[in-house]
Point group: C2
Chain length 187, copies 2
DNA sequence: TTCATTTTTTGATATAAGTCAAAAAGAAAG
DNA sequence: CTTTCTTTTTGACTTATATCAAAAAATGAA
């Protein structure tokens, strides 16, 4: 919890009453490796803050898993599409490591927006940051070669390489596992 | 202006005083084809609402233009990274058609957040929507073939095909112009 | 209309990356 | 330690897409 509060203060400094209300709305979850936070078809009604651990989001395409994001310490994770629209999720969220999370329901978060302008500000700022990160990821993914994408990962997100299996990383990078293995073998 | 107000009401219904304050902060711009809203190296201090026209965002890679987004009627456009961080932009924003825009400066928008909680809510909701649209675009871009990406564009954004030159569309789809031409020739 | 410029198409060839199959290496279980 | 199962690597081959070059078509100006 301390860690969550520490992290969100890098986005925006909440007032004491807002922090207190937020505290009241959060629920701690401890889950083991390979457990699911969400499976496709469900509506995602929770937003999670990942205090410790690793998580991936993936969906099925032609019978294969496509991993399209990872979450680690200090990340907010949810199926954004489902959480925002209230529609059934097309993605699955699975733990890659045993993890400690803080969950808040959409209803409680919505209520907090009404009661505390600064919580809505914090979330607005968080969305801004998540938006530009995604935009960067998009540009890197679409307009660069497999090798360049791997080199970027090595440079900017080496923790992913240390904690996630090659198959999932290859999928995340949008390349085959064999190609990734070959790229890697030529340092 | 009517159109902007109409459009934002699909996100969230603002109070009368908020609408009035927003009205006071907007500035109308009419620009011609090929004019620039922003060139790389500048800090983007404005957010634009595109009432009528067409716009593209692109950056330079190995001497070539890479078009990574288009804007049309009812879109909010800016260099999000630069606007949000205040850093110099790596992208250029150029008009594809003569356009009518409404501009708001970051300073004025920030002031509006303080004065009107509901304007911050509107923007938070807009970011949510833009985030999930970008996420969809990301998944489509990275995990599908050139043909599938083109078919998607044809299905979901046919207006792009009618209004934008093939070279820019190919760049947007992350494929060469020749390949796009060949895909298209086989209906 | 005619000429010049830009955009799109077509052809030949090269290359990055995928697929299928099997071997090797690593991790887990008894 | 073996045995088993999973993950990673290697090899041979295929395929999608890029690149380079030139022709054709479209657009725009005079």
């Amino acid at each position: 919890m301390q860690q969550l509060f520490q992290h969100i203060s890098t986005y925006y400094k909440l007032s004491e009453p807002a922090l207190e209300a937020l505290y009241e709305s959060l629920e701690k979850k401890e889950l083991g490796r390979y457990e699911y936070l969400l499976t496709q078809g469900q509506v995602c009604r929770q937003m999670y803050f990942l205090e410790k651990g690793a998580i991936r989001g993936f969906y099925q395409l032609d019978g294969k898993d496509i991993t399209h994001w990872f979450g680690f310490e200090n990340n907010f994770v949810t199926s954004f599409h489902s959480f925002i629209t209230g529609e059934a999720s097309v993605e699955n969220i699975q733990l890659e490591e045993s993890s400690t999370l803080w969950a808040i329901s959409k209803d409680k978060l919505t209520a907090l927006y009404d009661e505390h302008h600064d919580i809505e500000r914090l979330v607005r700022i968080a969305y801004e940051n998540y938006y530009i990160k995604l935009e960067e990821r998009y540009v890197n993914a679409q307009f660069r070669s497999a090798k360049e994408r791997y080199d970027d990962l090595l440079k900017y997100s080496p923790h992913i390489l240390e904690r996630i299996s090659l198959g999932h990383i290859a999928s995340y990078l949008g390349i085959s596992q064999e190609t990734l293995s070959r790229i890697r073998s030529k340092h």
